[in-house]
């Protein structure tokens, strides 16, 4: 392979593309996170970062989860509840989501994070 005089340059080009892809991925992730934190969609976030006019779409902060039969069974086993006690399972789901949000927001507020 090293006998091919032009190939090392092609390998370098491929590395440059890989670096570009990694950088783009990091930038996209940063904009998705920043947009979510500011209740914006990603394209509005990009426009905001560039000081261009953007439309703030009203995003309803609503969390929904559709639970299927097998989900109830799995959750019932984890919560040690009867699978048919759906009200109790939903209550525990709501508590668990609340705990996740509290821990996540506390983590975000910690200096240095």
């Amino acid at each position: 392979m090293s006998d091919k005089k032009d190939w090392p340059k092609e390998v370098e080009a491929l590395k440059a593309v890989q670096l570009a892809f990694d950088l783009s991925s990091d930038i996209q992730r940063a904009f998705r996170v920043a947009a979510a934190m500011q209740d914006l969609n990603t394209s509005a976030m990009v426009r905001k970062a560039l000081n261009l006019p953007y439309r703030r779409k009203r995003i309803r902060p609503r969390i929904t989860v559709t639970l299927h039969e097998e989900d109830f069974e799995q959750l019932a086993a984890r919560y040690n509840l009867p699978a048919d006690d759906r009200a109790a399972i939903r209550q525990r789901v709501a508590e668990e989501l609340g705990q996740f949000a509290t821990a996540f927001l506390a983590d975000q507020d910690t200096p240095g994070k």
Binding site: D6, K9, E10, E12, A13, L14, A16, V17, A20
Partner: protein, 134 residues
């Protein structure tokens, strides 16, 4: 053909009803990220060397593949790669990619044809290989 002239040429161009959103990616070597209208989810990365214009779309990472499906996926990739128009499948580090390369003396129309075909092929491939992924 170099990346600067491609930025200028593709910015205003239309090919088969498709337009191109070109963004240079910061770095030592010039690389363009090109989103083809109608296939925005599979951006094409393009770089130009003395030997070729290399166009490449990232499909998925190795870690996304179901371990038991890996041999069958590789077999399927090798078989699909031959009839697939203008593109071939490959691997860069831990990423599976679809790519096409052209002569550096290719015309703008040929580059646009490659970009449109590659971006569309990438969407088809992602659907084809969906069952092999986690």
């Amino acid at each position: 053909m170099d990346t600067q002239s491609l930025i200028l040429a593709l910015g205003d161009a239309t090919h088969a009803g498709r337009t191109f959103n070109v963004m240079p990616v910061a770095g030592d070597d010039p690389v363009l990220q090109i989103a083809v209208s109608g296939a925005d989810e599979t951006p094409v990365y393009l770089t130009v060397t003395e030997s070729q214009i290399l166009c490449l779309v990232y499909l998925f990472e190795e870690s996304e593949i179901r371990a038991s499906a890996l041999p069958e996926l590789h077999e399927s990739m090798l078989r699909i790669s031959v009839p697939m128009p203008l593109s071939a499948l490959g691997k860069v580090e831990n990423h599976y990619v679809v790519y096409g390369s052209l002569s550096p003396t290719s015309s703008q129309t040929e580059v646009m044809q490659e970009l449109v075909t590659l971006a569309d092929n990438a969407i088809d491939l992602l659907q084809t290989f969906e069952d092999f992924l986690e």
